[in-house]
Amino acid sequence: MHLHVNGRAREVHAPGHASLLTVLREQLALTGTKEGCGHGECGACTVLVDGRPEYACLTLVGAVDDAKITTIEGLGSPAAPHPLQIAFAALDATQCGFCTPGQVVSAAALLAQNANPSEAEIREAMVGNLCRCGTYPKIIAAILAVARGEYGALPEGAR
């Protein structure tokens, strides 16, 4: 099966009912996408599927073989970070960091849809991403700062 991940065509060997999360992590070594629950409860596994935020743990690979998938690694790297990745780091919107990739991906999806979200809209959009360390206030601040353009222009659309 072929998947289109982070701008590249990737060949994977998995039954169509395998979870996208497992395939990303175990076959493509894209371990930035985390498993916090495996059941759509925590959001740690959030990836973009054609720009929409999806729980990779609940997504079957067979259902997304013709979609464009973007993981946290596809948004940016330490050498060339996405504005949200800079802002989350600069404003301490990460503690243990385990929820962080999912948070950043959800935030990217939100900003792609709504370039200027209100605080209430941010809370609504991010409600599916749990953080047990309690970074919520800092995440809200980071998203607002990126929306204000303080961390550079957002890249065009999701890859």
């Binding site: 371990t31 780091a89 243990c96 960091g97 309690g134």
Partner: protein, 794 residues
């Protein structure tokens, strides 16, 4: 500058961990380090530096235990029994025959092969629901999960107890199999003064009974381990709060010398007290890896995480406070009952009753009962979070009965010293916390407005976003069509945060003039790695970018203890500073030789050494280059704390809530939190810790409870869907800050711990605000809608 210490190298002293004292022989540091007092000119410590590993985390490059993949690695999954008590029979025949399955281990395969903690791996006797009975090992995670689901576990049921009352009832089944269910020398009695006399002297008394729920740590990263044998040496990656403890556990279980076990933990996704030792997943991974001669990864799944990796046990507290009419406490009494689980330790609610307030007569009892539920584990401020709910609710009732401002009542009973142990505090900024917190919250104005009753609702609507103290506040309002009542509350906190020995660090100067800090600690998300780099950079006179801190490796790094008891910073930071001072002194000797000056004339900042004698300068890089491969290693150790001194952190939190009178839903609008932890090494990271503790406290107050079916003995909500932790929508406006400066008595860095304190006062502050809003007394958390609707008005 370093001075060699005279006198004995090893001394016997008392070390405190989470309120418990242990007598230990500790090493005195090789030289004295002058304390960084408030007047120390620090340029890196105390700054808002971003986490040194922040970009790794935000870009998904940080590698956690589950991200470790070894060549040929197999996947193991634990299988659990879902019954409270009985004898398990495991039928793995179907699982063994499934595709990709290499092995299934049960009590039969493991029996007699592991010692110590490992010997518990797979007992046939089931003592709680969620107990692991087998592990399946397969080529892929998917195959292992599928096979685990195909293992049939049947339990021949036996009688069980899951509540305190049932556990201590005459004729109750024994949780251990024989003997009484009362545990840990119950009842534990602690007393000072004469409680009867104190109550007799009281002009006003309040009595109440409160209940707190069993709460689950719920770190977002579940427990997990990757095990690999290199010949007869075992290497384990573990998500843990204590790499050295896991090493000791594994060495004991597999009967190996410590030279043959290496435990690693670079990034870890939260612990909160649940990850302090090796667990069944660790032993299973290592055991399977040895049997199959291949690396094995064993991750606990979310259900297992919620079922069997620890909890804060429930409590019942019967409280009586006595006071004079002016508010001075004459008596504090608490009798607590704690259903502990199948195991646990004395982290009960009593201690804070002895510590927080000045009162001559205090008497507490704690009865711990074993029950057929999974074992407790320390959960962020174990005991104090529960005890604070009881004590601070009681103080609220007392204030009302006395007609006193709850803040004034607390100020009146401020403890000028540690009355439990009759010793001075190293520092105590609680009065400033009350003052500064109340000011920023607008406590007096809000109290007055709420007492007035009918300030305009329109003004109240802004309260949620108002960080200032000026907005008026109506008791009743209509917000977005909902009828709400508003209230405010306060609660205070104390927690022993001194840290102590043993903790060691090395600072190695590299040939390019950079430095590496080596210390075998772990960063749970606290920012330990960052603050230790800051401390080293400061002491070395380098920039933060020139210093890298390496942690989490038992083979290559010096010992530090578990990251528990809010003690990583106060224990390890002084060792790091000392190692850096030692390395700097050595480098200065080399530079002095090169510059032809006395080492005493040298100082350094931002990586440049300067001589005050000749005004010559030389960079660290230049000195290092001239030295070539000369290896300069600084060594630091944590000395003992000053004797007979209470080293505590303090805080006060103020909450503003609105309760929907039709649905009973409680919304927390705002928390103002003022804490004192001595010197703050990095204000941004400190705020993050405070916010995190407050949000966990908010969950404890409003949502979190492990629900048990008492008739079946089964937990009903082992998922993050049914065990609700706060989401972003639940997060209030939080204004959290630290008051107070360096605590040079606590240690030479001046910092006390901060990790656990913020969870302690949040739930009572919220409940006190709800009491204010509703004119009724919530005595049980979580403050669920149905409980709120059932509250009888005062």
């Amino acid at each position: 500058m370093a001075r060699a210490r005279k006198g004995r190298r090893f001394i016997t002293t008392t070390v405190e961990v989470e309120g418990r004292e242990e007598v230990k022989v500790v090493e005195m540091p090789a030289f004295d380090v002058a304390p960084w007092g408030d007047d120390a000119a620090l340029t890196i410590v105390g700054q808002r530096a971003p986490r040194v590993d922040a970009l790794e985390k935000t870009t998904g490059r940080a590698r956690y235990t589950a991200d470790i993949a070894r060549p040929g690695m197999l996947h193991a999954v634990l299988v659990r029994a879902h019954a409270a008590a009985g004898v398990a029979t495991v039928d793995a025949s179907v699982a063994r025959a499934m595709r990709g399955v290499l092995d299934v281990i049960t009590a039969d395969e493991v029996a007699g092969q592991l010692a110590s903690g490992g010997a518990k791996l797979f007992e046939r006797t089931i003592r709680y629901s969620g107990q692991p009975v087998a592990a399946v090992c397969a080529e892929t995670l998917g195959a292992a999960r599928a096979a685990a689901a195909a293992v049939r576990v049947s339990v021949a049921p036996a009688p069980f107890v899951v509540t305190y009352d049932a556990s201590v009832a005459p004729g109750a089944p024994s949780v251990k199999g024989s003997g009484s269910n009362l545990a840990l020398n119950s009842p534990l009695v602690e007393s000072r003064g004469d409680i009867a006399a104190g109550l007799a002297k009281a002009q006003v008394t309040v009595s109440l009974t409160v209940r707190t729920p069993c709460a689950l740590h719920s770190a977002l990263e579940p427990h997990g381990a990757v095990a690999e044998w290199e010949g007869d040496r075992l290497v384990v990656w573990e998500s843990t709060q204590g790499v050295f403890r896991v090493r000791a556990n594994l060495a004991a279980a597999f009967r190996l010398p410590h030279t043959h076990v290496r435990v690693l933990c670079d990034f870890m996704g939260g612990g909160f007290g649940a990850k302090n030792a090796a667990g069944p997943h660790t032993y299973a991974a290592a055991f399977l890896a040895r049997r199959l001669q291949l690396p094995v990864r064993c991750l606990v799944d979310r259900e297992g995480e919620q079922l069997d990796t620890g909890n804060r046990p429930a409590s019942l507290q019967r409280i009586t406070l006595g006071a004079r009419r002016d508010g001075r406490l004459t008596a504090i009494r608490c009798e607590a009952e704690i259903p502990l689980g199948v195991m646990g330790w004395e982290g009960g609610p009593a201690k804070i009753y002895h510590e927080l307030y000045s009162c001559p007569n205090v008497h507490t009892t704690e009865a711990f009962a074993l029950v057929n539920t999974s074992a407790m584990q320390a959960f962020r401020a174990p005991g104090h979070a529960e005890g604070a709910f009881g004590l601070e609710r009681a103080m609220d009732l007392l204030a009302r009965k006395l007609g006193m401002d709850p803040v004034a009542l607390r100020v009146k009973n401020f403890a000028k010293k540690d009355e439990e142990k009759q010793r001075p505090w190293s520092g105590n900024g609680l009065l400033r916390c009350y003052e500064e917190g109340a000011r920023r919250f607008g406590w007096s104005e809000r109290r007055a407005a709420l007492a007035g009753g009918d300030a305009r609702a329109a003004v109240a609507r802004d309260a949620r976003v108002s960080r200032g103290a000026s907005a008026s506040l109506a008791r009743e309002a209509v917000v977005d069509g909902r009828r709400v009542r508003r209230g405010i509350g306060v609660a205070a906190q104390c927690w022993g945060t001194g840290g102590g020995p043993p903790a060691y660090a090395l600072v190695r100067l590299n040939a390019d003039g950079t430095a590496t800090v080596l210390t075998g600690t772990q960063d749970l998300g606290t920012g330990a790695r960052t603050v230790f780099a800051q401390v080293a950079a400061e002491a070395l006179g380098m920039t933060l970018a020139q210093v890298r801190c390496v942690i989490g490796d038992t083979e290559r790094l010096p010992y530090t203890g578990n990251s528990w008891g809010s003690m990583t910073t106060p224990s390890v930071a002084p060792a790091v500073r000392m190692a850096a001072e030692d390395a700097r002194a050595q480098l200065f000797e080399a530079a002095a030789e090169m510059l032809g000056v006395a080492p005493e004339s040298l100082s350094a900042s931002a990586g440049t050494i300067r001589s005050s004698a000749t005004d010559q300068t030389m960079t660290y890089a230049a000195v290092a280059k001239k030295l070539g491969e000369v290896c300069i290693i600084g060594r630091g150790s944590r000395g003992p704390n000053v004797p007979k001194t209470g080293i505590f952190s303090f805080g006060a939190q103020f909450a503003e809530v609105e309760v929907d009178v039709d649905t009973g839903v409680v919304r927390v609008l705002r928390i103002v939190a003022a804490h004192d932890c001595g010197r703050v090494l990095n204000p941004t990271l400190a705020e993050s810790q405070l916010e995190g503790g407050i949000l966990q406290g908010l969950g404890y107050a409003l949502f979190e409870e492990r629900v048990l079916d008492a008739s079946l003995g089964l937990p009903l909500n082992p998922s993050l869907h049914d065990y609700k932790v706060p989401t972003m929508v639940d997060a209030p406006v939080i204004e959290a800050f630290c008051v107070g400066g360096a605590d040079a008595t606590a240690n030479h860095v001046g910092a006390r711990g901060l990790a656990e304190p913020p969870i302690i006062p949040t739930a009572p502050a919220i409940a006190n605000a709800v009491a204010d809003a509703l004119g009724a007394e919530p005595l049980e958390i979580p403050l669920t809608p149905w409980r709120m609707l059932g509250l009888a008005p005062r």
